[in-house]
């Protein structure tokens, strides 16, 4: 039994070590190595045959050049700032769009709720790429939205939306809405309606009952939803690449271009390391929040 237990632990453990942790080590290593040495085809020199001297030269070969390079070129810190800013604003917008939907779902008749849930989840199963592609046809110069607005006479010349940050915000809200709606719905659904009646009996208006009772009680869902949108959006690639054009700066796209277009692997690795450092704070906060919620539920 003990041997079997050991094997059961060792297989997934070893898999994740080799395919998750070791790769990060390599990224870190390459981010610290010299550009000239590391231009592809790059083979990291884990030269164990060289013994102590090999290990020593391995470590002395490392330096922070690529990281100082990130601070000297404006492109990078601008891209980080703009990613965090876009993620923050789009998280708030998704919250504004998602909360009323979750609220309405929680107020719907119980027999409707599973269907409504499925309707929210269904787009999530459809290809992300296709859902973003759909917006190119809507937002373009000759797209459906401009056709509609021109036809209705609201505008006289087409709006420029595609390839601007506005299109990126729309794409993010569209793609990440289910991640906001579902956790909020989960907390609202559990809410005891007697509390609201009590508040109204005690003289609260419907609005203040919402603001003083419903909203604070739904806060765990709001927080979870915000993290679930914010964290992936910071590193988002597909949406800025298809909808943002060259005017939208996001770090996921910078990393991609650095790697595939400029073929500068050390810089791409350094970009990845810094991105991960930025994300570690929200990731840990989110983890703590989830753990606390689980303990409260138990």
């Amino acid at each position: 039994m003990n041997l079997r237990r050991l094997a059961l632990i060792a297989v997934p453990y070893g898999w994740l070590l080799l395919l998750f942790l070791v790769p990060f080590g390599i990224v870190l290593k390459i981010s610290l190595s010299d550009q000239a040495l590391a231009i592809p085809p790059y083979t990291p020199t884990f030269d164990l045959a060289g013994g102590w001297a090999g290990i020593k030269s391995f470590f002395t070969g490392l330096d922070l050049e690529n990281f100082t390079y990130l601070t000297t070129d404006n492109l990078y810190w601008k891209a980080y700032l703009s990613s965090v800013w876009i993620a923050t604003l789009s998280t708030l917008l998704t919250l504004l769009a998602g909360y009323p939907i979750a609220y309405a779902m929680a107020r719907a008749r119980p027999e409707w709720r599973p269907t409504l849930m499925m309707l929210v989840i269904l787009p999530f199963w459809t290809s992300f790429l296709i859902r973003i592609y759909a917006w190119i046809g809507i937002l373009g110069q000759t797209g459906y939205l401009n056709q509609l607005l021109l036809w209705s006479g609201l505008i006289s010349k087409p709006l420029v939306i595609l390839n601007t940050p506005v299109a990126v915000y729309i794409g993010i809200i569209y793609a990440y809405l289910p991640f906001m709606v579902l956790p909020i719905y989960a907390t609202l659904e559990k809410l005891d309606s007697d509390l609201l009646e009590a508040a109204e009996d005690l003289g609260c208006s419907r609005f203040s009952a919402f603001w003083l009772v419903t909203f604070p009680l739904s806060r765990p869902g709001v927080i979870a939803g915000c993290f679930l949108v914010f964290i992936p959006v910071v590193g988002e690639f597909v949406i800025p690449s298809l909808l943002g054009g060259s005017r939208t700066l996001m770090i996921g796209k910078v990393l991609w271009d650095e790697f595939f277009s400029n073929r500068d692997w050390p810089t791409a690795s350094a970009v990845a390391v810094v991105l991960l450092l930025i994300l570690i704070v929200p990731i840990i906060l989110f983890q703590r929040h989830q753990q606390r919620q689980q303990e409260l539920d138990a």
Partner: protein
């Protein structure tokens, strides 16, 4: 919470669902457009489906994508179920914190970082990049999703059932096969489905993990879409959307029927006892 459903609630639901479904609906409608200009309607036609099916590059990509999805989701299900068991049942062991960290981290690390790091690993190991490396990459991130889904089911299930089986003389393996597995089966199946869809859908990690020899469908779509609208992509999207919709509705009906049947059996068992 169940109170008056106000006009405000009705409006938010309507607007919300219009927002979620209108873009996909337009995409599907315009896949039957006869014009090459995707946004200008010029009459009903199914010719782009014909063009799509004669396009060998798409067919090849579809075959590769399906192969990758089938193998990687099966691998991910096996590994993820093992990992879930380790998280919930294996008790304490050295390095447990690191293990649970490695299970949850891939869920939140951006795809570009996962992709980059895996590519650098494959190069360091001297692996030939292609279908094999895409499968390895997909199995790795999918197993984390599977283990989250399965472990939540394992946590909620009554361990004394397993102990009873052991007391009645089952070997641990038999107990797992005949007691635990049937109970966690729905979670294992939904983990597999989730992995399968994630794999079908993935662009970023596949692009990093693949070599010139393997192009998956999302990679093919992305390279086309970057050049602008394309009627063939509309047709392809319509096919994919229909498949997913049928799949989701069918699986939800099946699981609903299964839960009804289980309830009935439980009631019968209670009535007999």
């Amino acid at each position: 919470m169940s109170r008056r459903f106000s006009w405000f609630n009705a409006t938010s639901l309507t607007l919300g669902f219009v927002f979620l479904y209108l873009p996909i609906t337009i995409l599907v409608i315009y896949s039957f457009n006869s014009s090459k200009l995707v946004t200008v309607w010029a009459g009903f036609s199914t010719k782009w489906y014909g063009v799509l099916f004669r396009d060998q590059a798409y067919l090849d990509a579809a075959v590769i994508t399906l192969k990758v999805a089938l193998v990687s989701s099966t691998l991910a299900t096996i590994l993820g179920t093992m990992a879930a068991w380790v998280l919930v049942r294996a008790g304490r062991f050295r390095g447990r914190t690191l293990f649970s960290g490695m299970i949850y981290a891939p869920l939140v690390v951006p795809d570009v970082i996962t992709g980059l790091s895996l590519l650098l690993l494959f190069i360091a190991l001297g692996l030939n990049r292609g279908i094999g490396t895409i499968i390895l990459a997909h199995a790795t991130f999918s197993m984390c999703y599977v283990s989250v889904v399965v472990s939540s089911r394992l946590v909620s299930f009554d361990q004394s059932l397993e102990e009873a089986a052991l007391d009645l003389g089952c070997s641990p393996f038999d107990a797992f096969r005949s007691v635990t597995l049937p109970i966690i089966a729905p979670a294992v199946v939904s983990g597999w489905l989730l992995s399968f869809t994630l794999s079908l859908d993935d662009l970023v990690i596949s692009t990093f993990a693949s070599g010139p020899s393997a192009t998956t469908l999302p990679m093919k779509i992305y390279s086309q879409v970057r050049l602008g609208l394309n009627p063939e992509i509309n047709a392809l999207s319509t096919i994919l959307i229909s498949l997913v919709t049928i799949g989701v509705i069918a699986s939800s009906l099946i699981s609903k029927r299964a839960s009804v049947r289980r309830q009935r059996q439980e009631q019968q068992a209670l009535a007999q006892s």
